[in-house]
Symmetry: C2
Subunit: 314 residues, 2 copies
């Protein structure tokens, strides 16, 4: 049985690689299962323990996730590695529960307009599905974690501003329904650090010991600053993607999750241990260049190198 506080301990920063899911959502070329295995194993060897592995979606429409079951199994072979897969509809939920994946993720948008555009469901309907998932999960033997990403939590490219009270209401509802982790997602890169700090602080207050995470995009260059603000508020679960891969089909121009290796660097400059060897981690870029030659790979530390005397400094 998965215990959230053991999987996401709050005495260290838990950085989750979402490149294999969010990072592949919109790419033209994607890694083979063999390459995904190498990607995971190499990052695991560098110290990464949390991965989004894919999405349970029709393989015909989403060929990049056709091997999600296999990727779930790859993660399961690695001690202490934790895999999460997305389930965005009933079929996906059933498949995810059967797959044995340790965490099932859902998406609920803080913007009613975006929730409708993204899923053709109202927020109420999505909440009902989350409730059903939690019930079905409770009936399983392996009892996976359920997590919800609150999309557009900092503003929406369809409806503009999103009231923080509305976001916090959804966060509370999710925890009440039995969700183990809620993450505040800046889906289209609208957030600034003051907003991230304020919302993280408020969300923490209602989390009553459950896990709170942030999922940040670097669309407007604020990704690392926003991560820093979340860390300062005690958030200890942050998503990132190697090379800054990823985007959202309903968010025009929204390219790029916060860069995973830059995120590791940020944490280490703050004296927050990630358990990740930055030098080793960056080597995975070579594989991505080969597997996804047409995708731009972002990352500042990878370009400039680790500072001289860096280890000594932290």
């Amino acid at each position: 049985m998965a215990i959230a506080s053991e999987i996401y301990p709050n005495d260290r920063v838990n950085l989750r690689e979402v490149g294999l899911r969010d990072g592949l959502q919109m790419v033209k070329t994607f890694p083979s299962t063999k390459a995904k295995k190498k990607w995971i194993e190499q990052e695991y060897a560098a110290g990464v323990r949390h991965f989004e592995v894919g999405s349970f979606l029709p393989a015909s429409k989403y060929p990049m996730f056709a091997d999600v079951q296999k990727v779930v199994e790859i993660i399961a072979t690695l001690p202490d590695a934790h895999g999460a897969a997305l389930a965005l509809n009933k079929r996906g939920t059933i498949d995810a529960l059967e797959s044995g994946v340790a965490e099932i993720g859902c998406v609920l948008s803080a913007s009613p307009e975006h929730n409708l555009a993204n899923t053709r469901r109202s927020q109420k309907e999505t909440l009902r599905e989350i409730e059903n998932l939690c019930r079905m999960r409770d009936a399983t033997k392996h009892n996976p974690l359920v997590s919800v990403g609150i999309a557009m939590a900092f503003g929406c490219s369809i409806s503009g501003s999103v009231a923080s009270t509305a976001v916090l209401g959804l966060v509370e509802k999710c925890y009440d329904l039995g969700v183990d982790m809620v993450s505040l997602a800046d889906t289209v890169g609208y957030a600034g650090p003051a907003q991230v700090a304020a919302l993280s602080a408020e969300a923490h207050k209602i989390s009553s010991g459950k896990i709170l995470g942030v999922h940040l995009h670097d669309t407007r260059g604020m990704g690392i600053a926003n991560a820093s603000a979340a860390l300062d508020e005690g958030v200890r679960m942050i998503d990132g993607a190697m090379g800054g891969l990823g985007g959202c089909p309903f968010a025009p121009n929204a390219t790029g999750n916060v860069v995973f290796d830059d995120l590791v660097f940020l944490c280490e400059t703050k004296g927050l241990k990630t358990g990740i060897d930055l030098e080793e981690l960056m080597k995975i870029r070579e594989l991505l260049k080969v597997e996804m030659p047409t995708e731009p790979l972002y990352g500042a530390v990878a370009k400039a190198g680790i500072p001289l005397g860096f280890e000594a400094r932290t």
Copy 2:
């Protein structure tokens, strides 16, 4: 007579465009005087009031600054615009004092090794030159401000770590010598936000009402996070360069000041007024593309656009 607290009021954020100086230090192509005039006038129209205009250096070696006197005069025609020029040696100091520029900037490196490599002088010798400059300044009628940028204040690409006590000692000496503004420079992009916050807080304590600024490079992707940390500590003078132009000849791979328009966006997300119209500001990029076609221009907001409902949010 220039009064520092009026030129850099602390009830607003003073963002300084250093693209015309630090941004041109290493470029292969550079704007004509006419284009510099347009650059300044267009940014001025967008609300920018602080500019680094160039460096008093031999025109034979630094052709990009050959027109510095003319640029000083362009700034002087614009009400409330404030120009600063660098003077890095005796000849430069005399020229700068005669030019009528409102602020003369010097550089002192926090790393003895870098100070020597960069200027062929010891830190003591550089401090003596700063003292001389302050005296010569006091004897002028127009009494320009004197500012010092503490290079490598957060770590050095030649010597590694730099002790914050050493930096603070130099900051204090500069203020004691009559320097009006000291800025902490992350010359090679080694800093993280916790370090910037800590050093800014300590430096503020010894500034006794004088101006404290930060000069940040985005070399390792931390530029905006570091600016955010400095703002949180009450720093109200931050350098940036349009398009993230700039670097340091003694800092290999150190490319890019923090991006000016992204910096404006950051401040506005924090509710800190810059007096700058972001939409208008970004238009200057077209000129830079024409004048410096071989230089990469960075910037996330320019690429993704201003968020929907952004004005309403701030």
